[in-house]
């Protein structure tokens, strides 16, 4: 033992030196470390230096390390580049799925479990990123934003119809956008308040939710003159014009008497962007198939009001 060691106290029980620290009679043992342990520590220090040389490590003054604000190391490693590579690999991996999707009919998609799984996954991701803000995470819709799960379609519910609607949008800036406009009967004073009330009762009676016989009869006349050209004489609507079916139990802007009146008063003007400029065709295919497969999609052969 060295001179230094001899001065130190040795714990009788363990035979180990103490560090000299003491807390309320509890002393700290200076249990010896094996020397190889120390060598591993030195080796780690050396490794750190190697790492500095090969990997990005130190902040650098602007201009000293090229584009970046840190040393690049000999490997010129960049997590950003790695992410770009990983994304490319992912795209390549998805390419097969998108290729199979292009040109497939919705029946083919539905009957091919593999393709179906791909479409549902891809569509769900695109939907979440782009559509969920307005239509809701589960596509459940909100007042003014259609529920995409049900079987009600303003502009048609076939795979092709949905694809077209996604591509051109509704009342969007696209030249071929789906467009129609309901007059603001109240705000623009096209109908009196009483007439609006009567036509509201008539419209509600179409789905059996009003029984005010007098109002219904007066409203029927108003309806025939003002509304039937778009919503059709029987109120079942016209998809070519995006005019909703008024006989069903679904109400985009609410089905209470006040809500329907308010809708007639102001004439709604809902807008959906045209996705053509933001999503490529394959992505729109996947999105359309996803929306179709939410449960409400219609056969292409179904009639214009095929419900």
């Amino acid at each position: 033992m060295s001179e230094h060691d001899k001065k130190r106290e040795t714990d009788a029980h363990t035979g180990t030196e103490t560090t000299g620290h003491e807390w309320d009679g509890i002393k700290e043992l200076d249990t010896p470390l094996p020397r190889w342990w120390l060598y591993i520590f030195y080796a780690c220090c050396a490794w750190a230096v190697v790492y500095w040389i090969f990997m990005p490590a130190w902040p650098a003054l602007p201009g000293l390390a090229g584009e970046t604000d840190h040393t690049r190391g000999l490997r010129n490693h960049s997590e950003r580049a790695n992410v770009a590579m990983a994304l490319d690999a992912l795209d390549a991996q998805r390419a097969d799925g998108f290729a199979a999707l292009a040109g497939s009919s919705i029946t083919e998609i539905e009957n091919d479990p593999e393709l179906l799984g791909f479409v549902l996954a891809a569509g769900e991701a695109v939907y979440g990123d782009n559509c969920a803000t307005c239509h809701g995470v589960g596509a459940q819709g909100f007042v003014g934003y259609p529920n995409l799960n049900d079987d009600v379609w303003l502009w048609g519910g076939s795979y092709d119809d949905i694809r077209t609607t996604l591509t051109v949008g509704i009342r969007s800036e696209h030249p071929d956008t789906r467009f129609s406009q309901m007059p603001a009967y109240g705000r623009d004073q096209l109908l009196s308040r009483a007439e609006i009330g009567d036509v509201t009762d008539y419209v509600l009676s179409l789905s059996g939710t009003s029984a005010d016989v007098g109002a219904i009869q007066r409203g029927a006349t108003v309806f025939e003159v003002q509304c039937a050209s778009c919503h059709m004489a029987d109120g079942t609507g016209d998809r070519a014009q995006g005019a909703p079916n008024l006989t069903d139990r679904d109400w985009l802007y609410g089905g209470s008497r006040e809500q329907v009146m308010a809708t007639i008063h102001r004439g709604p003007y809902g807008v959906m962007p045209a996705w053509e400029s933001r999503l490529d065709e394959a992505t729109i295919d996947a999105l359309a198939a996803y929306v179709f497969l939410l449960g409400g999609g219609e056969d292409a052969t179904a009639g214009p009001t095929g419900q």
């Binding site: 010896p32 470390l33 094996p34 120390l38 539905e110 009957n111 479990p113 596509a139 529920n147 049900d150």
Partner: protein, 493 residues
């Protein structure tokens, strides 16, 4: 002056060693340089048992990857295989999917409890006999002995200057070590891909890069840990010696020096009386054989791996001097105290500690066995869409969406019928099935498949806020069935 001259004539055949307990408490210093240990070959029943266990454990390790087990044409035929690529673990007739990882958890809990129980009963039996570190170190020391001789020859060789003789012995030893280390690392990777293929691919240079990495890393660790680090691993790297202190107690049977019999120790000349002295003749054979470089006569120590080689060494000596064997023996601390007090020994294997371990072990084992026996090859679970909770259609009917997951753990593809039980008015639609047989699904061997299912309840059948339903999947060929309950939310008050 030789040992013999100093101590006089001992009984014939007694060897004495100037063995020093290099890891004894007094000889430690800060950043201690590693003292080489030259364990002497012991002879006796424990050494024999250790040879047997070494042969058995090494045999199991090297041969298991080559065992075959027929699982049909679509599944691998390797009896024990960890198939990361396909997310399967095969163990003879058991096949585990990733979501069944609890079998592995259970196995690890059983192993831990088993270790606790063994420690409470018999101390570090695991360390002494079965731990890979012990087994491979033992094997490497055997090789060392083959090339460099037993303890004294090895000490002499190390002290001698370099010569051809020394060089070839050292080179030979390290070469054989490397071969063993490589075989160890190489066998490891056979557990993760088909063994025969891997073997062929490995030497053709076409195996997976990870195979070479793992084989390399394990070759390196085996070589360093078993060849050059040895007791340092047990003393400084392994957490078990620390945990061990909490697992054992004064009633556990441990390798123990019978202080009551041995002291006062001292050299003994043939023919001398054994009165008024202990049986220990201070020949230090127990120290010479100890692979950990400690002196068992100092009492229980963290370093002791309970390999029992000192028992063999001392029994040998006791036989030769004509004293009863068992001066160093498996004994409890309490019993040594009783011997000192002149009382009879008492063993209590059933103690609160051992009972708790044994009962927990039994419970976990029973649970695992139960889970294994009731494991089915067909599973079904479903998740109802929560957003939206339900969809009201234009005609007033209500639709709920579900994701139904069907798991086929059998090694053959199956055609099954997926149906819903409940209100007869419910109309079911499964996405991804053919239109001719809208309720039939086909699932490949050893696969799971998700289905989107829409259930629609007509307006006139709605008579409450929800209805209980149940999905049922049944194998058309075998009739095997699985069901899972769910509900259909109508949105009605």
């Amino acid at each position: 002056m030789s040992d013999t001259a100093k101590h006089g004539m001992a009984a014939p055949g007694i060897s004495r060693s100037k063995a020093e307990a290099v890891n004894a408490a007094e000889t430690r210093e800060l950043y201690k340089k590693r003292e080489p240990i030259y364990p002497k070959l012991a002879h006796g029943k424990f050494r024999f048992a250790k040879w047997l266990i070494m042969g058995l454990t090494l045999g199991v390790y090297y041969l298991i990857p080559f065992l075959r087990w027929d699982r049909g044409p679509d599944a691998p035929d390797q009896a024990v295989l960890v198939d990361f690529a396909h997310g399967r673990f095969y163990f003879f007739f058991i096949e585990i999917w990733p979501q069944e990882i609890y079998y592995i958890t259970g196995l690890l809990i059983m192993a831990a409890l088993g270790l606790f129980l063994a420690s409470a009963l018999f101390g570090r039996v695991w360390c002494g006999y079965a731990c890979p570190q012990t087994v491979w170190t033992d094997l490497f020391i055997m090789v060392e002995r083959l090339f460099e001789g037993d303890r004294n020859a090895r000490i002499k060789l190390d002290r001698s200057p370099w010569s051809i003789n020394k060089a070839w012995r050292k080179t030979g030893k390290h070469a054989v070590w490397l071969v063993i280390a490589f075989a160890t690392g190489g066998a490891w990777i056979l557990y993760f891909h088909d063994a025969w293929d891997t073997l062929a691919n490995f030497f053709a240079g076409t195996a997976a890069p990870s195979s070479y990495v793992f084989a390399g890393v394990l070759t390196f660790t085996t070589y360093t840990l078993a060849g050059t680090m040895r007791e340092q691993v047990c003393t400084y790297m392994c957490p078990w010696p620390r945990i061990q202190a909490a697992m054992t107690d004064r009633e556990a049977v441990n390798v123990t020096y019978r202080i009551d019999r041995g002291e006062p120790r001292g050299a003994h000349k043939k023919g001398d009386s054994w009165d008024d002295r202990g049986d220990c003749i201070d020949c230090k054979q127990c120290v010479a054989v100890c692979p950990m470089g400690i002196d068992i006569r100092d009492g229980a120590q963290l370093e002791c791996i309970q390999c029992a080689l000192c028992i063999d060494a001392c029994d040998d000596i006791m036989d030769k001097v004509g004293r009863p064997t068992g001066l160093i023996t498996y004994e409890t601390d309490d019993n040594v105290d009783r011997f000192v007090a002149g009382e009879a020994p008492r063993y209590r294997f059933i103690r609160p500690r051992t009972l708790v371990y044994a009962v927990s072990l039994a419970i976990v084992t029973a649970l695992m066995l139960g889970a294994l026996i009731t494991r089915t090859e067909l599973e079904l679970n479903s998740q109802r869409d929560r957003n939206p909770n339900f969809v009201r259609l234009s005609d007033g009917s209500v639709r709920n969406g579900y994701t139904v997951n069907v798991i086929n753990k059998a090694n053959s593809a199956r055609v099954m019928r997926l149906e819903v039980e409940g209100d007869a008015a419910i109309n079911a639609r499964i996405l991804g099935v053919s239109d001719d047989q809208p309720d039939q699904i086909r699932i490949g061997a050893d696969r799971s498949q998700r289905y989107v299912v829409y259930l629609t309840l007509p307006a006139d059948a709605i008579d409450g806020p929800s209805e209980d339903i149940r999905f049922r999947v049944s194998d058309i060929a075998t009739g095997e069935t699985a069901t899972t309950p769910s509900v259909l939310i109508t949105g009605a008050p």
